[in-house]
């Protein structure tokens, strides 16, 4: 299936089918797996009933567990995985940098600072207040605006000036966050640490509705920009001579990726590795075209994060593992394996 040549239509179709199957498996696992055992048949029946096809055979208790506990967690996992993966892929394209991830321009540091401020000064270290997502979102957005202000020079932004500005702003905000933490109690530090690790455990329908509009809009913009990112792969100057308004495309893609990432990070905390690993796995499988990578990142990223979350909440149940740890444990070997296969075939 893997080869050094650009992918054939058949290979792309097979990978697409694999991604769709992974998504179906993730949805069934997300709704079906948990302390209360519910059979796959009943889960499929409940999903069909939710879509207006047939009747659900779930008991009232099972229906509450599925629709009020597991479903919001599943949907939040799907939108988070899709957003982080698409944002990572889009950043890699717009900066022509394979190491780019959704946190490149300071989103993580800004959100971390916002959340720390909320926990330390609003919750006084005793609780994680309901303001945390809002302040994390504000922190992430302000961080990207500062990065753009420092390195962007309006529409004259280049990839390298933005990346360097992102490094500087991230360092500054992280140091401020460390300062706030250092001024607070052990309880606060523990709460901030838990938030930073990222988790879907507090998912609710209200958090889903809070992030969904941003994610839908931002994912649509990023996927639509796939063709433009392909043109940008020849570099800014050549892309301009081909008719691409490079700076405007960069501004739109960076704005969409950052806003969507800020929205999901504010709801679930910092989940690392998804945004870098998913686009890279797909690039190895379907080639370098962002017209293929980005739509598949939506499907595979969503499936990947939900499957990782299912493992995170069940493998050491009742204790939950940090989601970011599971995404790295799953993603890194998968990536290494694909890379090795590809290298063998290339040589």
């Amino acid at each position: 299936m893997l080869s050094a040549h650009p992918p054939t239509a058949r290979r792309v179709a097979m990978v697409t089918l694999f991604c769709v199957l992974a998504l179906i498996a993730a949805v069934v696992a997300g709704l079906g797996v948990g302390p209360t055992s519910i059979s796959t048949t009943r889960i499929i029946g409940a999903i069909a009933s939710g879509l207006g096809l047939g009747h659900s055979t779930l008991t009232p208790l099972q229906a509450t567990i599925v629709w009020q506990l597991r479903a919001p967690r599943l949907v939040l996992g799907l939108v988070t995985g899709a957003m982080l993966s698409v944002a990572g892929g889009a950043y890699q394209g717009v900066f022509r940098n394979p190491l780019a991830d959704p946190y490149l321009l300071g989103v993580a540091a800004g959100a971390g600072l916002g959340a720390t401020f909320a926990i330390v000064y609003v919750g006084h270290g005793l609780t994680t207040p309901s303001w945390t997502p809002l302040l994390a979102f504000a922190g992430a957005t302000i961080a990207v605006l500062l990065t753009w202000g420092l390195g962007g020079r309006g529409l004259r932004a280049t990839a390298s000036t933005l990346i360097l500005a992102g490094v500087a702003i991230s360092a500054l905000l992280t140091s401020l966050q460390t300062f706030f933490q250092q001024q607070s109690s052990i309880d606060s530090i523990a709460r901030v640490y838990i938030w930073l690790l990222g988790s879907l455990a507090t998912a609710s329908w209200s958090s889903v509705w809070m992030v969904l509009p941003y994610v839908v809009l931002c994912v649509v913009v990023c996927v639509a920009a796939g063709g433009a990112l392909d043109v940008m792969s020849v570099g800014d100057e050549e892309a301009k001579t081909l008719g691409l308004p490079v700076r405007r495309v960069r501004l739109v893609v960076v704005a969409a990726s950052s806003l969507g990432t800020a929205a999901v990070v504010s709801a679930v905390g910092l989940i690392g590795f998804v945004g870098i690993i998913v686009p890279h796995i797909l690039r190895l499988l379907v080639g370098t075209s962002y017209r293929r990578i980005l739509p598949l990142s939506v499907i595979f990223g969503a499936a990947f994060l939900v499957l990782a979350d299912t493992i995170a909440r069940t493998i050491m149940a009742p204790t939950e593992l940090p989601l970011g740890v599971v995404t790295a444990i799953l993603g890194a070997p998968a990536f290494a394996l694909i890379l090795t296969f590809r290298r063998q075939l290339t040589t």
Partner: protein
């Protein structure tokens, strides 16, 4: 009619004039090559023509349209560039690479139309690239790669193509092959070419008109046959250059040890 009009052009960088007060008019369906020693301002001049350099003074028009009034998309429909060191992205196949030349026509949100694909196929056929069209661009030889970059420029369907040292890194056979191909496009399709070349023999044999640039200024401008015989050429290159006529073709030879 003039395909390219450059009037009193000055291009500046770091308070230094790279191109200074240059005026050139290039007639449609002709080939103009800019020659000159390293640092003469050749690349700055041709990059200005495709809108990659900020113009400090003067103006450029392509097919009668002032460059500064055009956006990237409008410009890409009038003039195409074959850069000196094109960026070739790994993993892209030759057909997709050539199809990048249609970006200005199908827009950012739409895929190439059947018409765009037909133009790409026709260019691939014309440049004998159809047998490579599914290959990864990274696996092509230097000659094949340069031909592919030219195909991308031709796919832009512009009447003007700007080439910055298009023969860099090619062996003699591939240099001649590429320039013959360009000559055919000028003669048969009425293409206008503005190029830079270091090889004076090739410049003299293929261009209709040569412009000698030195320190950003035009030193000589005229028919290729005349320019290569002028003394100023030797002075600019600071060496003795001789012209030998071989079966009607001018060959420019530097003479060792005679420095001006």
């Amino acid at each position: 009619m003039n395909a390219v009009e450059i009037n009193e052009l000055t291009v500046r960088a770091d308070a230094r004039d790279l191109v200074s007060d240059v005026t050139l008019h290039v007639e449609s369906g002709t080939w103009l090559t800019v020659i000159g020693p390293n640092g003469a301002g050749k690349t700055s001049l041709v990059e200005s023509v495709v809108g990659l350099r900020r113009i400090a003074r003067g103006a450029i028009s392509i097919s009668g349209q002032p460059l500064e009034t055009l956006n990237e998309r409008e410009r890409a429909k009038l003039v195409a560039l074959v850069p000196q060191r094109p960026s070739v992205p790994n993993g892209m196949n030759v057909r997709d690479y050539v199809a990048l030349g249609r970006t200005a026509y199908h827009g950012l949100l739409r895929a190439p139309s059947a018409g765009d694909r037909a133009i790409v196929d026709s260019v691939l056929e014309r440049l004998s690239l159809h047998e490579f069209c599914e290959r990864d661009v990274a696996t092509l030889s230097g000659g094949e790669r340069q031909r592919m970059v030219l195909a991308r420029a031709l796919a832009q369907s512009t009447m003007v193509i700007v080439l910055d040292e298009p023969t860099t890194g090619l062996d003699l056979h591939h240099q001649m092959d590429l320039l013959e191909l360009l000559r055919r496009e000028v003669t048969e399709c009425g293409l206008t070419i503005v190029a830079t070349l270091h090889d004076l023999t090739l410049a003299g044999q293929f261009a209709d008109r040569l412009v000698l640039l030195d320190a950003g200024k035009v030193v000589l401008d005229g028919p290729a046959h005349d320019i290569i015989r002028r003394e100023e050429l030797s002075r600019c290159y600071q060496m003795d250059l001789r012209v030998i006529d071989i079966d009607g073709a001018d060959v420019i030879v530097p003479v060792r040890g005679v420095s001006q």
